[in-house]
Symmetry: C2
Subunit: 333 residues, 2 copies
């Protein structure tokens, strides 16, 4: 099956591509993390309370295990301040975050001392704190604890499950995401309707959806061609716009996690695009600035190329239509 | 913190909503599955080979465990035909699917006897089959096996990790999805660029992205108001358009898993919208047909409402712009 690596890398039929990178994760944990980041996940905040002491950790290692009995699992780092409370507490709740809760995820990933003080929550029926606004809660008794290297796998017996309206918050390729139906499943949001309508009223909105998907996918190919993964690209843009920030400030500004930010910064230093100035202030080198400007130019050229040949009057009319749709749907939120 | 449940259910500030449903998953496994489905995941195909015998299972229970040593896990049902091979084989590979591999996911979830026969793959360095076209491969030795109710949790020591270009395939709320940057992180795909451009060339594409996000979210609220989750909505549309299909045909046509399809069908039967005719052929009742027509009308009304007040000339110009963008990006694939 092994054939020589093709050059048209993003084609579906290209079945024997070369890896971007490969190796032994025991000797390269950053490689391992980059590979793990390709598996998209939701975001869960795990909470517990014992004798008035509360703890919460943000994880994307949640997984279902069993229906009968109902079991779920997640993993906690031995380095976590909250590890003793989860290890000895005997119970926890899994709070699945909604797409409206990016701020909650950031709050609970921060180093703030009492994370519950500024958060709306209530005590669950089984003793663990339940965060308001989540998509789902699983109230658990600890069923087993399993050694897993530098983490412990906590398996929970779910005593109560509840679900709420909303859309899931996702984390994929190092960034917060929202999910849309796969375009091959549902080219229009008409739930299940496979036959496209033919009046202009009946095609404009599905076409907005399809145009977004196709443009986004084409631009991703451009970004790949630039040799940048999205977290590196976001960090370089941030340091360009705001030179002198420190690592934790960059992590907050880019909505990347601390570890992804550190990895991206290390990559940029290795490539000679970034220097760590006095007091940990981050500054792009001339090579870094040039790279940032190349990315910006690529995006501008992309837009120009895409819109080339469309009459100016059509572009203005399209902008009026889109602006009206955006304004009226923003107002409804 | 407990306040009376608000009615404006989708507001971010509405911090004490009532659950759609809640209960003990030990006595209601369908409730449990619906709650679990709210945690978005990637899709992984786990493969192994021992003495010429190959096995593969499709899972969304993959999770990272530890960096040092590098460990990952997933769970296999005791009812799986492949369970003995994974239990005794001592090794496996995790193949993380890309957004272009929805067909691969469906193929490996089917009951086809030799799933490898029609699939491009190669032998990994550590003895397990690696599927072509994936986003990442983790070649593992079995590190430990842990009892987990009706499943066994398999923890793997990763000996080799590799990653490829592409976007992840996701599964959320019972359906295949693709991920887009969260709109609060990146309103435009210009990686990290926080300052919007002001020329018309520089705003039209970001506005397509934002219009898609807002319209999609508004329409989801409409669907929720109809009291339908997306898998039920998709199944009812499928049986309306193609009466007489059987369960496995509906599962294939709707791109839902067998279990989600069965759950949705059971929900429709309970609500008196569906009957199971002779030979397992599925037929909507009059109530079911009316519900399907109400959904279709809601979608048509939604489009009319959204576009109301936009001059016909602008609508036609917008359609021309979108059609051109779609055509040229489709052609590039």
């Amino acid at each position: 099956m092994q054939t020589s690596a093709g050059q048209d890398r993003l084609s579906v039929d290209d079945t024997a591509r070369s890896p971007i990178e490969a190796g032994d994760p025991a000797t390269d944990s950053r490689l391992f993390r980059r590979c793990l980041g390709l598996y998209g996940t939701g975001i869960a905040i795990i909470t517990t309370e014992t004798k008035g002491q509360r703890a919460a950790v943000t994880v994307n290692s949640f997984a279902s295990v069993s229906l009968d009995p109902p079991l779920v699992l997640w993993s906690i780092s031995h380095g976590s301040r909250s590890y003793p409370l989860f290890k000895n507490g005997g119970r926890f709740a899994v709070n699945i975050l909604a797409s409206t809760q990016m701020n909650v995820s950031r709050h609970f990933s921060s180093k703030i001392e009492d994370k519950f003080a500024e958060t709306a929550w209530s005590a669950g029926e089984h003793g663990s704190p339940l965060l308001d606004g989540c998509l789902a809660h699983f109230e658990c008794e600890t069923y087993s604890q399993v050694e897993g290297g530098d983490h412990t796998i906590l398996v929970g017996l779910v005593r109560r499950a509840s679900r709420f309206e909303g859309e899931p918050l996702l984390f994929a390729q190092g960034q917060y995401c929202v999910a849309y139906s796969h375009p091959e499943v549902s080219p229009s949001p008409e739930v299940g309707g496979l036959k496209p309508e033919t009046s202009s009223e009946g095609t404009i909105i599905p076409q907005i959806f399809e145009a977004h998907h196709l443009l986004s996918s084409t631009f991703d190919e451009h970004r790949h061609a630039e040799g940048l993964d999205i977290s590196v690209a976001r960090v370089i843009a941030c340091v360009y716009d705001m030179p002198g920030l420190k690592t934790d400030q960059v992590a907050r500004a880019t909505y990347l996690g601390q570890r992804d930010t550190e990895d991206a910064l290390a990559t940029l230093v290795e490539r000679g695009m970034l220097v760590n100035a006095v007091d940990g202030q981050l500054i792009l080198t001339e090579a870094g600035r040039q790279r940032r400007e190349a990315i910006r130019k690529r995006w501008q050229d992309f837009q120009k190329d895409q819109l080339a040949g469309i009459p100016e009057g059509d572009l203005r009319a399209t902008l009026r239509t889109l602006s009206k749709l955006i304004t009226q749907n923003r107002a409804a939120k």
